[in-house]
């Protein structure tokens, strides 16, 4: 080879991208040229160093959050509390959001009064792609869709293929578990979607909500926190969940 190979050729050699003949030629040159040998060594070291660049991986919950918010956007939904409430339903408790996202620990005490706490050991509750999942105490699992309370999933265009109220089949449950959609380790915040749609919360609001929920005494004692439901809604949800549990 006459003269030094191009820098690009040295780079390609460092990245093992040269063909057999070219590799032989360049290698032969490098053996006798200190300048090229140093440059080749630099490129090899650079590759090695750049290969150490690591990126964080999103958790299954983050993927799920992404899908949920995407569905909400596809529905064209806006955050409900941004709009004035036009219909008041009898029995509804005072609206607590968006003040929720701004309150201090003192105000959190007021929220607690609006929260039903599901005692640990009774059921574990997780969120499925299309409803609420319930895990029994002894490992048996049932899942059901709780109409009227869809935790942002109720009107999902993706969930439309399963009739409302139908149970999740065992194979689907396994699929959900494998996909990490069953978040039974997480405390679930469920809310009437007409007043609080978790899908429409920003990440910051969700974090704030999360912090708020941890300010509730011993949150790990509870599996489910429900907010802003009427007494009738609470009763209906409880009944639905009990039915799911006994399935």
């Amino acid at each position: 080879m006459k003269g030094c190979p191009s820098e690009e050729m040295l780079l390609r050699l460092a990245e093992n991208e040269l063909g057999g003949h070219e590799t032989s030629f360049v290698n032969e040159h490098v053996r006798s040229c200190e300048k090229c040998r140093k440059l080749l060594a630099e490129y090899r070291e650079l590759s090695h160093m750049l290969a150490k660049d690591r990126i964080s991986e999103p958790s299954q919950a983050e993927w799920q959050y992404l899908m949920v918010t995407m569905r909400a956007k596809l529905r064209g939904g806006t955050r409900v509390w941004d709009k004035p409430r036009t219909t008041g339903r009898p029995g509804r408790r005072p609206q607590v959001l968006p003040a929720w996202t701004r309150v201090t620990a003192v105000a959190a005490a007021a929220v607690v009064s609006l929260v039903i706490l599901w005692k640990a050991g009774v059921v574990d509750v997780g969120r499925l792609a299309d409803g609420i999942g319930v895990t029994g105490k002894h490992g048996e699992r049932a899942a059901g869709r709780v109409d009227g309370y869809g935790v942002s999933e109720k009107t999902s265009p993706f969930g439309a293929e399963r009739p409302a109220g139908s149970a999740v089949t065992p194979s689907e449950k396994v699929a959900s578990d494998e996909d990490g959609l069953f978040l039974s380790d997480e405390i679930l915040l469920a809310a009437d979607s007409t007043s609080l749609n978790l899908a429409d919360l920003t990440k910051d609001e969700l974090y704030e909500l999360g912090e708020l929920s941890t300010s509730v005494s011993a949150p790990r004692d509870y599996d489910l926190l429900l907010v802003d439901l009427t007494q009738e809604e609470e009763a209906q949800l409880l009944s639905e969940m009990e039915k799911s549990f006994s399935m």
Binding site: M49, D53, M70, F158
Partner: protein, 190 residues
């Protein structure tokens, strides 16, 4: 039938199903592409929140534009193309914001190291590498990431960024040269 061909057929089927009204088919397409998409986008925007935002925007565009997808390439290439363009735009938009944070250099030592001193050195090195990658212009960063980290062929990258193979090769080479310069203090001369 090759694995690549089989995957393409599956993608085509899922796309047909989605266009015929099956929402779950779109979800399947997303699931099959999301990790790869994330890695590509994350390497470009270099911030997880931005990466997830970009992916969501890209998926929304794909959802709304699937009917007009002409199938001249694989669905996954088309989706990657949307996401990479979104990511490049994001970097351009935030170019003044994406400066190396001092906190990055003071990051917790890597958990891979048992020795705290070694961990601090590694963390510093990771910070320098990150800063060097961030210093690349958006398109070069995208091209470099796709080739170096994702192992895409020059032809595939050209398809994704809508450029010629020659331009991709040149872009990659310029990126590597800049990285070598940025990291010159770390790359030993001997």
């Amino acid at each position: 039938m090759t694995m690549e061909h089989g995957m393409k057929e599956r993608e085509e089927q899922l796309l047909d199903d989605f266009l015929n009204g099956s929402e779950s088919a779109f979800e399947e397409l997303v699931k099959e592409n999301r990790e790869r998409l994330y890695r590509t986008v994350m390497r470009i925007v270099r911030n997880q929140d931005d990466a997830m935002d970009v992916i969501q925007e890209s998926l929304l565009k794909a959802y709304k534009g699937a009917a007009s997808f002409r199938r001249e390439s694989c669905f996954s290439t088309w989706l990657t193309s949307i996401a990479v363009r979104e990511a490049i735009n994001r970097v351009k938009r935030d170019r003044f914001r994406n400066m190396l944070s001092l906190s990055l250099l003071a990051a917790t030592p890597s958990s891979r190291c048992r020795n705290p001193e070694e961990g601090a050195v590694l963390s510093l090195l990771e910070g320098r590498v990150d800063a060097a990658l961030r210093s690349l212009p958006a398109v070069q960063r995208a091209v470099f990431s796709m080739k170096f980290y994702e192992g895409l062929k020059v032809r595939e990258i050209a398809e994704v960024v809508g450029s010629s193979e020659g331009a991709v090769k040149a872009s990659y080479f310029h990126a590597v040269r800049k990285l070598r310069k940025s990291l010159s203090g770390l790359v030993s001369k001997e």
